[in-house]
Subunit: 256 residues, 2 copies
DNA sequence: AAGTGGTCTAGACCACCAT
DNA sequence: TGGTGGTCTAGACCACTTT
């Protein structure tokens, strides 16, 4: 076992300072980043690691926990712990309003969407405010898990006034295509981008560990008339998605 | 102790399903979000929590770990565990190129910057590529911890060709002000925004737990001539900063 | 000095996966 | 069935803060 020398109790003594689990974490991290452990390769079982490094299994788990959170390792229950294959990043330009489907197609990715929810519901207070719904009206909701090349990339939860999308079941691939058909394609959108730690349930859908960083994007789309068409919350995998924005210096503030 | 009833062993039995630490986490989370625990209020000591809920201290720590990672609780070594005060979010528009200082001043925040590093150095390979430096030339670096109303908000690490910033020690508040003075104020910039889990060292500077979500922003700024002026990596607290982008639908792709 | 969080241990049992 | 990760325990000692 090659790792025996890297992880020997003596090696740990000489590793960086701090608690044992940090030293162990650091040694493992260097082994991974340094290529001593190849992508997809299995780590020794936790019990073996504990014996090799002469620490308790709890300490091994704490070190591995960190590396899993950082995305360097992947645990598979009952199977083992493996060095992850890095996900290549995808970029989206912010200067142009496009749908996820159009966006990915342009890059040559095959996209797929798994339907999580689709139908007509009673609006939440937030939906009423964002979409400008009057009391008693209903709202169409479409929640989808977006995949690019069969890797989950984002969860998208869209709310649309039934006025513009009376038949949500017609939406199969692109929401914007269907809005085109109903004559309600938005021409302007405002996005709010922030970072968050992905909660357990969403993390499971995206295939990432709970607590991993995600890009949360709230988008409100407008018709030329100024009316709000849709309100979408998306959650992108932080390790797989970049947003690119071009900005210019000038006195031209945002359009009305 | 009010918590005794909320956290009693029986209450835990009836809480959501899953492992003990998840139930405990959920009960605590509901108590916090439901306002049963006020902001700034101290949680009972871990040992007490363990006894109240009739679980081991390790299990209590695992539940609390999660809530600390999510930012609902703050641990203070030797002092206690407290319900965090939420940080109000700040927004930055992406449609206009502004400096941090200008940006915050417009919102009425008082800003302060703690200098982390400032001087002239040998460039890294990345800096040479990004700034288009020729071999043997040097690079000016300014790293600062940005604060708004005395709360750390971002770490900013800027690299500038010495051609445009021969005397980095002149930069006190705004980098752009100094570039204005040397006649090298950029007119265009491209930003790449992504989410990441903040590493220990940076987390400490920002006053957030390691692993919390951060917005990583890489910015390359250009002169009107097209030359690159600066290359900046910023790391914003995910819980305190939003980026807002306005987009329009159209055939107008990004400018050359 | 007393109380708090931070780390660590040895051992146990369960749930899942491969064979 | 045997090996793997997932959870849990009781108890110990250390480091830091408060009094």
């Amino acid at each position: 076992m090659i790792l025996a020398s890297i992880l020997s109790a003596e090696a740990l003594q000489n590793a960086g300072r701090g608690p044992l689990y940090m030293k162990l974490r650091q040694v493992l991290e260097e082994a991974i980043r340094g290529g001593k452990l190849e992508q997809g390769e299995a780590l020794p079982p936790e019990r073996d690691l504990a014996e090799i490094a002469d620490v308790s299994r709890v300490t091994v788990r704490k070190a591995v926990d960190d590396l899993v959170r950082d995305g360097l390792l992947v645990r598979r229950h009952g199977s083992g712990t493996f060095v992850s294959k890095p996900v290549s990043k995808v970029q989206q330009s912010l200067s142009r309003l496009t749908s996820f489907t159009e966006d990915m197609a342009r890059r040559g990715f095959t996209t797929r969407a798994e339907l999580l929810e689709r139908g007509i519901f009673h609006p939440t207070t937030e939906e009423m405010v964002m979409l400008g719904l009057s009391a008693g009206t209903q709202v169409a909701r479409i929640s989808r898990l977006r995949m690019a090349n069969d890797t989950p990339l984002a969860i998208e939860r869209a709310s649309i006034s039934t006025e513009f999308l009376p038949e949500p079941e017609n939406v199969t691939t692109s929401l914007y295509e269907e809005l085109d058909r109903t004559g309600a394609r938005p021409v302007r959108a405002i996005q709010r981008i922030s970072a968050c730690n992905v909660k357990e349930a969403d993390a499971e859908l995206l295939g990432i560990p709970a607590g991993a960083a995600g890009l949360s994007i709230e988008r409100v789309s407008y018709l030329a008339s100024g009316r709000v068409v849709e309100f979408t919350r998306s959650l992108y995998r932080g390790d797989a998605y970049d947003f690119v924005a071009e900005m210019t210096l000038g006195e031209n503030d945002a359009a009305p």
